[in-house]
Amino acid sequence: MTKEELITKLSAIVKPYIQNEEAFKSLNENTDFINDLEINSANLVDIILDIEDEFDIEIDNDSMEQMLSVKATVEIIQKKMNI
């Protein structure tokens, strides 16, 4: 899976939780879940659970700690999937 494909899948996962449509339209690697997309922190856990289901991976607490941006999240998914 390419990085672009990963980002496409990830944007479909975060879409139900976003509160800033404009920032979502221009979603890219540097997009921050909370500062840009204005996702409630309580929904971050939903995103992490959705990622685990979608990519069939397990996200440990240390990885979860970093997952505040598209870039960090893509890197963690790639690492867990060995791609």
Partner: protein, 186 residues
């Protein structure tokens, strides 16, 4: 230092499903999961614990200017119906949580902090103005002369020109509500 967090309970009901598989395990320590599962009102305990963690996190980000998502590192325990303690690494934060049928609001303070906390709950759109108004009442500086700046991690700070007015400040939004808590410069 002060931190606060508000949870709109109706919004939490519709936007988050705490009974979803894996949700409690990701968010809470084993001890906290026990508190939730043995409670008569598990929903309220979930959101009380969550707001305690968030309020404490908002103090940590003011101290270290680093953001992270590590709910397990903040372990909560209850002292009374309203009061609690959050442990984070070597820090201890004292919390007070207010509940009504609409929202749950927690204020966290470092345990040795003696500064008076000013706080209120309102609408998300007017929180900034509410803070300025309260600062005017407390300091005599006019609302028009007060401006908000943000730290590198987004923590709010209030200034009168170049002079910082708040010692510590925290703003929280969720659903239909906004809330603030601040302490003044000595």
């Amino acid at each position: 230092m002060v931190g606060n967090d508000l949870v709109d309970l109706q919004f939490a009901k519709s936007e988050s499903n705490w009974q979803r598989k894996g949700f409690l395990e990701k968010q809470f320590t084993i001890k906290e999961q026990q508190l939730i599962l043995h409670a008569t009102n598990s929903f309220n305990v979930v959101w009380r614990l969550w707001s305690m963690k968030e309020a404490a996190y908002k103090i940590v980000t003011q101290q270290h200017e680093k953001r992270f998502f590590a709910p397990h590192k903040f372990e909560c325990s209850f002292i009374s119906e309203a009061e609690g303690i959050v442990f984070f690494e070597k820090n201890k934060f004292f919390t007070t949580t207010f509940f009504n049928s609409f929202y749950c609001h927690t204020i966290a303070q470092k345990t040795n902090d003696k500064l008076a906390v000013f706080s209120s709950v309102g609408m998300p759109e007017t929180i900034d103005f509410e803070i300025k108004k309260r600062l005017q009442e407390l300091t005599g500086v006019l609302v028009e002369q007060i401006s908000q700046r943000k730290s590198s991690v987004g923590a709010p700070l209030y200034y009168q020109k170049e002079k910082i007015v708040t010692n510590s400040c925290s703003i929280s939004h969720h659903g239909n509500y906004g809330a603030f808590a601040f302490t003044l410069q000595k």
